[in-house]
Amino acid sequence: MMRPQLLRKMSARKEELGVGRGRARRPLRHCRGGGAAGAGRPGHGAMAIFSVYVVNKAGGLIYQLDHYAPRSDTEKTFSFPLDLVLRPHDERVVVAFGQRDGIRVGHAVLAINGAEVNGRFTADGKDVLEFLGNPANYPVSIRFGRHRLSSNEKLMLASMFHSLFAIGSQLSPEVGSSGIEMLETDTFKLHCFQTLTGIKFMVLADPRQTGIDALLRKIYEIYSDFALKNPFYSLEMPIRCELFDQNLKLALEVAEKAGPFGPGS
């Protein structure tokens, strides 16, 4: 349960786009038990709502909240030679082969010897791959984990989804299709609700989480209350309304508590 002081402190640290963090991240390596239960939630197991996205009519992301991210960082000490195969990918160094012990293919190098890396370079400015190729630097402690999306990447992905949504409506054999309502994968389900005015609300949640339809309607209500009725909020612009954040987080908590056996409030 979020305490009001914690909520206020977190809201003060919001990024440009109104991206908020739902709860303090604790690295999973300190927690026992697998999966997503690591962040200290009571009981339910892996029941979570991961994030919420709000996209405006033009396809631009106007709000994004990471409510819960199953952190799977692993930090290990290695000696030369490194038995993982690393390669550069985009702006990061990722594991290409040699999956073991929680370090999976696709994980990026997040930190070396405790200092966070800056893309392909260490905190000191040395190239990561060069550094790890030099036996003199060993033993070295490297932290691997899933790369967090940056704000720009989220913007791009939201716009792409907006386009896919439009394509989906057009591909429909029946006239007047609602567009993509759900995208299902083995690790999450993306639920999308487009209002009659063209705003899209997307919720990424655990596949077993129920009551997301009601949650999407609830988020619509919260948007119409705390964003639209705020006279200083301009339509289609990024939402930076404190009340919207707070009420959204509360709604997410309520929806999560309901668990897998039926809708909540």
Partner: protein
């Protein structure tokens, strides 16, 4: 109206008189600022428009209505659901034209004119409730229905009934962005 659980249950309603009085004060102030009736009407319409573009989402979120498939459904929706929800009155709807895109909402009771008997002589062509026209126009525009909304008859001007006319404009066929409405 449902409120999120975070808010304390504030069930105090704001008095209707205060709302009507506020509206009256607004019109009176505009009359002081603008000499011509057309300017006041235009200003009220603009204000109503900016209310309408926001109110539509509130309406859709709370009433959870399905998409309207025809102009007459839309006009019925405005009269029977929207007016009822926001002003507590239900105007009757009639279709004015054979082409099926002109409708009238006939208001028996208009809460905004509770305390107004008639317009002053120098303000004969003032549309006192023009805000409502702007609201309807703005709301319809956000669901991609262009319309012209105006007062056809007004009790304040001596007519028998108050009648709001909605004319849906045909937009050019635009198949490029066929978004779900």
């Amino acid at each position: 109206m449902s409120r999120s659980p975070g808010r304390k249950q504030e069930n105090h309603k704001i008095s209707r008189e205060l709302f009507v009085l506020t509206y009256g004060a607004l019109v009176a102030q505009l009359c002081k600022e603008y000499e011509k009736d057309e300017d006041v009407n235009a200003c009220l319409d603009r204000m109503g428009y900016s209310i309408g573009i926001r109110l539509i989402d509130d309406f859709l979120a709370r009433s959870a209505v399905r998409k309207c498939r025809s102009y007459s459904e839309t006009a019925d929706m405005i009269a029977q659901v929207a007016f009822k929800m926001y002003l507590g009155v239900t105007p009757s709807v009639s279709c004015n034209s054979v082409t099926g895109n002109e409708f009238s909402l006939i208001l028996d009771k208009n809460p905004l004119v509770d305390f107004v008997e008639e317009l002053p002589a120098e303000r004969a062509s003032l549309c006192y409730c023009n805000l409502l026209c702007g609201v309807i126009r703005g709301a319809l525009e956000m669901v991609h229905l262009a319309a012209e909304v105006s007062f056809l008859q007004d009790r304040l001007k001596g007519d028998d009934v108050t009648e709001i006319g909605i004319t849906f404009l045909r937009k050019p066929e635009d198949r490029r962005h066929r978004r779900n409405k």
